[in-house]
C-alpha cells in the first residue's frame, strides 16, 4: 500500500474528496428539482482522482477536463458558488451561465473546461503545453479524459505529437470501465491502457484510482517529469456509481458490480485509513462532512439568488472583437 502523505495533506485529501461527493450528491437532487437541466454527469466514486492530482498542482498550472468535471473545477480553485451558479445557468456562474454543467471554465484559475467532445480537448492540452515550451515557462498542463477517448483518433494524434515534441503535459485517463454503456473490453483491442500510451514512447503507468494516496503519489512523480519537459500518461482505474448522465437507464451492468466497487469506496477506505493512523477521529470526519454541506448550501443559496443574463445580450461572446 502506498505510504500516507504527510498528515496535513492527508486530511486535506479526505476533506476535498468529501467536498466533491457532497457537491455532486446535491447536484443529483437539484437535477430532480429541475434546478439543474441539460446533461449532468456525476463522478461519484471517482473523487480520488481529481483530488490526488489537483493537490500536486500549483495555482498557475493549467487543467482541462471532460464534462464530468465539477470536482476538478472545485479543487482547481473555482468556488462552489460559481460552479453551482453555472449549473443553474446564472450570469454569476463561472462561465457566465453560457456553458452549464459540461462547460465550467475559469481563466483566473486556468481551468480550461468542461469539454464535451470526447477526445477533443487532448490536442488543446498539448497545445497549451507547447506554448509553455516555446515561451520558456515551466507551468504544467494536466488533461483529464475517460478511457472512451482512447479509441478516438485525437488521442493517438496527440500522444504522437506530445512524445515527438517533448510536450510538458500530463495525460490522466480516468478509466471507469464504461463509455456510456460500452465496456472497455468491447471497445479496446488492448485493455491495458498504459501500454497504448507507452507505444508512443511516453512514460506511462497504471494506478489504483480508488486510492487517493496512490493517486497523489503517482501524480507527484508524473509532474516531476512533466516539469522537466516531457509528457506523461497515467491510467487511473476507477468506477462511477451513478448513471452516465441523468438520462441513462443503466441496462448494461448489474447492480452487484456497483456494490462490489463500493467496497473500495475512496472516501470510506481513506477515512478508515486515517482513523487507524490516528490522524482523524469520528468527530473530525463528521466536521469535514458538515463543513462541506454548509459550503454547498451556501453555494446553492448563491445560485438561487443569481440573475439570468438578459436576452438582449444573446449575441455576446461570439467574437472578442465584435463584428462590424
Amino acid at each position: 500500500m502506498t505510504e500516507l502523505p504527510p498528515s496535513e495533506v492527508s486530511k486535506q485529501l479526505l476533506g476535498d474528496m468529501i467536498r466533491i461527493r457532497v457537491m455532486e450528491e446535491r447536484c443529483a437532487e437539484l437535477y430532480q428539482q429541475t434546478k439543474i437541466r441539460g446533461f449532468l454527469h456525476l463522478a461519484i466514486g471517482e473523487e480520488a482522482i481529481a483530488t490526488g492530482v489537483m493537490h500536486r498542482l500549483e495555482p498557475e498550472d493549467a487543467v482541462l477536463a471532460t464534462y464530468r468535471e465539477h470536482g476538478h473545477a472545485l479543487l482547481k480553485g473555482v468556488s462552489a458558488k460559481a460552479i453551482m451558479a453555472e449549473m443553474f445557468g446564472m450570469a454569476e456562474g463561472c462561465s457566465g451561465g453560457r456553458g452549464g454543467s459540461m462547460h465550467l471554465f475559469d481563466a483566473g484559475t486556468r481551468f480550461y473546461g468542461g469539454n464535451a467532445i470526447v477526445g477533443g480537448h487532448l490536442p488543446v492540452a498539448a497545445g497549451l503545453g507547447l506554448a509553455e515550451k516555446l515561451s520558456g515557462r515551466h507551468r504544467a498542463t494536466v488533461c483529464f479524459f475517460g478511457e472512451g477517448a482512447m479509441a478516438e483518433g485525437e488521442f493517438h494524434e496527440t500522444m504522437n505529437l506530445a512524445a515527438l515534441w517533448d510536450i510538458p503535459t500530463l495525460f490522466c485517463c480516468e478509466n471507469n470501465l464504461y463509455a456510456m454503456g460500452t465496456s472497455l473490453e468491447t471497445s479496446e483491442s488492448e485493455t491495458n491502457l498504459s501500454v497504448k500510451a507507452a507505444g508512443y514512447g511516453i512514460p506511462a503507468w497504471t494506478v489504483d484510482g480508488m486510492d487517493v494516496a496512490a493517486v497523489y503519489d503517482s501524480a507527484g512523480r508524473a509532474l516531476t517529469t512533466v516539469r522537466s519537459g516531457a509528457p506523461v500518461f497515467i491510467e487511473l482505474r476507477t468506477y462511477r456509481y451513478r448513471a452516465h448522465s441523468m438520462f441513462d437507464p443503466e441496462l448494461y451492468r448489474e447492480k452487484e458490480e456497483i456494490e462490489r466497487w463500493k467496497i473500495q469506496d475512496p472516501i470510506m477506505t481513506f477515512t478508515r485509513r486515517l482513523t487507524e493512523a490516528g490522524l482523524v477521529d469520528d468527530d473530525a470526519v463528521e466536521h469535514m462532512w458538515e463543513r462541506a454541506r454548509q459550503e454547498m448550501e451556501e453555494a446553492i443559496a448563491f445560485a438561487d439568488a443569481g440573475t439570468l443574463e438578459p436576452i438582449e445580450d444573446l449575441g455576446r461572446h461570439v467574437y472578442r472583437r465584435e463584428l462590424a
Binding site: 471554465f105 485525437e154 515534441w165
Partner: protein, 324 residues
C-alpha cells in the same frame, strides 16, 4: 510599386510576422524542409529555426488542436493545412473548439489562431483535392473567414489576421499562387470589408478568391458590349460586408454572384438571399448565380472546366440580367 507573385507576397507576410512578433510560429505538414506544399514558407525554417517553423506529422486534428491550445497559452500560431479537403479531419477542432471557447467560457477565453489552407480546383487534381468548402466554415459563428484574392491581400491580410483576437480561417485559391501583380505598399488591410475593384453602373458582379479574376475578365468583355459592370471582391466570407454590396446593388439594380462552391446551400445562395432581403425594391432582375456544377470535381480537363464557373457564363448571366 513592385511586381510580385501571390506566393511571394504570402511568403513575405509570413517572414515579417516571424520577424516582428516572437509569439508567432508556423506549424503544418511539410512547412519546413519541403518548403511548404505551395512553397509559401520556403526558406523560413532556415532563417527562423525548426522551433518556429514546425513540421508536423499527418495529424490534421492533432496539430490544428495544438495551434488552438498554443493560442490559448499566449502564442500566435499560424497553422497551415495543406488544403480545405484535408481540413475536414480537423473540422472538430475548428468548429467545436476554436469557434466555441470564447462563448462557452462566457467571454473569458479567446483563441487568436490563424488557420490557412489552399482551396479550389483547376489543376486536374480530381475529387479529393479540388473542392471549395469555404461555405462550411463561413457558416459558423465564432470564426472569421477571409479569402485573399489579390496580391495586396496576400501580402497584408495575414498581419491583420494575427492582430485579430479570434480564430481566423484564411483561404488561398491554389491557382492564385503563381499569379503576378502589382503590390502597393499601403500596409495593413482590414478583415471585414468587401472592396469595389472596378466601378460600374449597370450591374454588380460579386466574386472572390479564384472567381475574382473571372469576374474582372467578364467585366472587361461586357464593357466592349456596352454593359458597365461593377466588380466587388467579397474578401471576407464571414462576416459578410452587407453595406458595400447593398450600396452597390442599390445603384446598379442588378447582381450576379460567381462562386466556385456548389450552388446548393452555399455562399452564392447566402449572398442572393441578403441582396433580396435588403434591396428587393431596387432590383430590376432576380439575382444571377454562376457556380460550380453539382458534381464532385472530375479529373479530365474538359470536364473539370465544364464543372467550374467560366468567364463566358458570367458574361451570359450579365447579359441575361441586364436584358442586353
Amino acid at each position: 510599386m513592385t511586381t510580385i507573385t501571390y506566393r511571394d507576397a504570402l511568403h513575405d507576410a509570413h517572414r515579417e510576422a516571424l520577424r516582428t512578433d516572437e509569439r508567432v510560429f508556423i506549424m503544418g505538414e511539410d512547412v519546413a524542409d519541403y518548403g511548404g506544399t505551395y512553397a509559401v514558407t520556403k526558406g523560413l525554417f532556415e532563417e527562423f529555426g525548426r522551433h518556429r517553423v514546425r513540421n508536423t506529422p499527418l495529424s490534421e486534428s492533432g496539430f490544428v488542436g495544438l495551434g488552438i491550445g498554443a493560442a490559448l497559452g499566449g502564442m500566435r500560431p499560424i497553422v497551415e493545412v495543406m488544403t480545405v479537403n484535408f481540413s475536414l479531419l480537423a473540422m472538430d477542432q475548428i468548429v467545436n473548439t476554436a469557434a466555441t471557447f470564447l462563448h462557452m467560457s462566457g467571454g473569458q477565453l479567446n483563441v487568436p489562431v490563424v488557420i490557412r489552407m489552399a482551396t479550389g480546383a483547376g489543376r486536374q487534381l480530381a475529387a479529393q483535392h479540388s473542392h471549395s468548402l469555404e461555405a462550411w466554415y463561413a457558416h459558423v459563428p465564432g470564426l472569421r473567414v477571409v479569402a485573399p484574392g489579390t496580391i495586396n491581400d496576400a501580402r497584408w491580410m495575414l498581419a491583420a489576421a494575427l492582430e485579430d483576437p479570434d480564430p481566423v480561417i484564411m483561404f488561398e485559391h491554389a491557382t492564385l499562387y503563381g499569379t503576378k501583380g502589382e503590390l502597393d505598399d499601403a500596409g495593413p488591410v482590414d478583415l471585414d470589408t468587401a472592396k469595389v475593384m472596378r466601378p460600374g453602373t449597370d450591374l454588380t458582379i460579386i466574386g472572390w478568391s479564384g472567381t475574382l479574376a473571372k469576374a474582372l475578365d467578364a467585366a472587361a468583355q461586357l464593357d466592349d458590349r456596352g454593359v458597365s459592370a461593377e466588380v466587388i471582391d467579397l474578401r471576407s466570407l464571414r462576416p459578410i460586408d452587407d453595406a458595400t454590396i447593398i450600396e452597390s446593388v442599390a445603384r446598379t439594380n442588378r447582381a450576379i454572384v460567381v462562386d466556385e462552391g456548389w450552388r446548393s446551400v452555399g455562399l452564392s445562395a447566402e449572398l442572393a438571399a441578403r441582396i433580396t432581403e435588403q434591396c428587393f425594391y431596387h432590383l430590376d432582375a432576380p439575382v444571377g448565380r454562376v457556380c460550380a456544377e453539382e458534381v464532385p470535381i472530375p479529373y479530365p480537363s474538359h470536364l473539370e472546366q465544364a464543372a467550374l464557373p467560366q468567364v463566358d457564363q458570367v458574361v451570359d448571366a450579365a447579359l441575361a440580367v441586364t436584358g442586353s
